[in-house]
Symmetry: C2
Subunit: 261 residues, 2 copies
């Protein structure tokens, strides 16, 4: 279990009367290793989004550690939104489907708290060679194939968001306008179900910009109108970037919600 450099202490630690492990310069707790094992299982597709993973006792037996150690590993994975615990039922792989946590990454809310379901209008979906900047952000070689999606989001009939979405072509093989148009629900749910790529976290750079002619026309605002520019990079397992998204938001009647702590 424990594969510290310079230590080969077995299910070590407590209560046991073991050989004293050489104090390793780089100490890694057991539960971290368990965490890595479970993450591996998630990444390899051994347990797919929405599915249940083995119970704590079972995992404890498998990895030859105590239940408490498995528990701590799962606790952290649940805190990272990779797993979801449900008392009495089991522990499940988090998913962008079903959950009412569907639009976890869309932070745009209406001034009045009402919940307006939005609809997506696809403008185009085509393949091309990655521009240098996109390639850099997606960790691709320049001119590698990418997919570009352009779309509008309408809240309650009002056109509010214009998105340009860049995806690595190798991962999203077979993604076409038709399949996009047919799919109901969030993009990330589709990416997960259809392409086995799950978005774990994202990092955004937000600015206020003046609407340029093209964008202005799409969003039905005047040229120069202030828009919220949201540049997002999304990551999957192993912190590998798998999406670059540039969004322009009209923030009259809507705002970007953020909580600091």
């Amino acid at each position: 279990m424990n594969s510290n450099p310079a230590t080969t202490n077995p299910p070590n630690g407590a209560g046991a009367t073991d050989v004293a492990p050489a104090p390793s310069p780089t100490f890694s707790p057991l539960y971290q290793q368990i965490k890595a094992f479970i993450t591996q299982g998630l990444e390899s597709g051994e347990w797919k989004p929405g599915e249940i993973i083995p119970s704590e006792v079972e995992l404890a037996a498998r990895y030859k550690v105590s239940q408490g150690t498995v528990r701590k590993a799962i606790d952290e994975l649940a805190a990272d939104n990779l797993l979801v615990r449900r008392q009495g039922k089991g522990t499940f792989v988090a998913t962008h489907n079903e959950d009412r946590v569907q639009f976890r990454f869309l932070r745009l809310l209406p001034d009045d708290g009402d919940v307006h379901p939005h609809v997506s209008r696809l403008l185009e979906c085509r393949r091309l060679r990655a521009p240098a900047e996109i390639a850099r952000q997606l960790d691709l070689k320049p001119a590698d194939p990418v997919v570009l999606i352009r779309r509008l989001l309408q809240f309650d009939g009002e056109t509010t968001v214009f998105d340009e979405i860049w995806l690595p072509g190798a991962v999203f093989r077979g993604l076409t306008a038709e399949r996009l148009a047919d799919y109901k629900g969030p993009l990330y749910a589709m990416f997960e179900t259809e392409f086995g790529t799950r978005m774990i976290r994202a990092s955004e750079k937000i600015r206020a910009v003046a609407a340029e002619a093209g964008v202005a026309e799409l969003l039905k605002v005047a040229e120069g109108f202030p828009l919220l520019s949201v540049e997002r990079v999304s990551y999957t397992y192993g912190d590998r970037p798998v999406e670059v998204r540039r969004g322009w938001y009209v923030t009259t009647g809507y705002y970007y919600q953020n909580d600091l702590s």
Copy 2:
């Protein structure tokens, strides 16, 4: 310890051969109660920001629970940034002073990753009666006294932020322009040190807006220039609102950084 309705089970739970506690309809774990006790100690000023709190064993003895239970309580408080654990030393009350986590709530970063320390230029600090909207947000009665601070932030010489900060007058008695001007370091550090009010969390509404004449002049941009509008409400212990802040950010060369997960 356990003050569940319909249950008066003593340091209950495990291993012990206690009377079976009546399954309460509203079950509250022991560690939650410990958490509440500790929070109380923080709020009452028993332990002040930067100070050390009693060790886990000591707290366990005081509350008549096991160390593990105290640990879980402290774990959650540390996750909420109310406490800071330091191995080998002890557990400390979080503070906006010292920490290199000083500007935890300022998310504006330069396009080049360099760290530019910023300077604050106070425009005014005066007392007045709360406008209806501010009163509502601060949970005050209309026309209650408030303090209004207006200031500019300069990054590397460039004027980048204009802030209007509203504080409840009752809490910030004796806050004057002189004291503000004299104080070095973040505002929240001063609020904590000088007024015993610690900001715990904040909620922001972000929009893109066109610069109005007054703001434009202060920020040295043209009227109509796109600015990031950041409306923040900050809360202290017990989720009581104690600051309303409206900021206008110039986002050329700078961006608002946000991480989603």
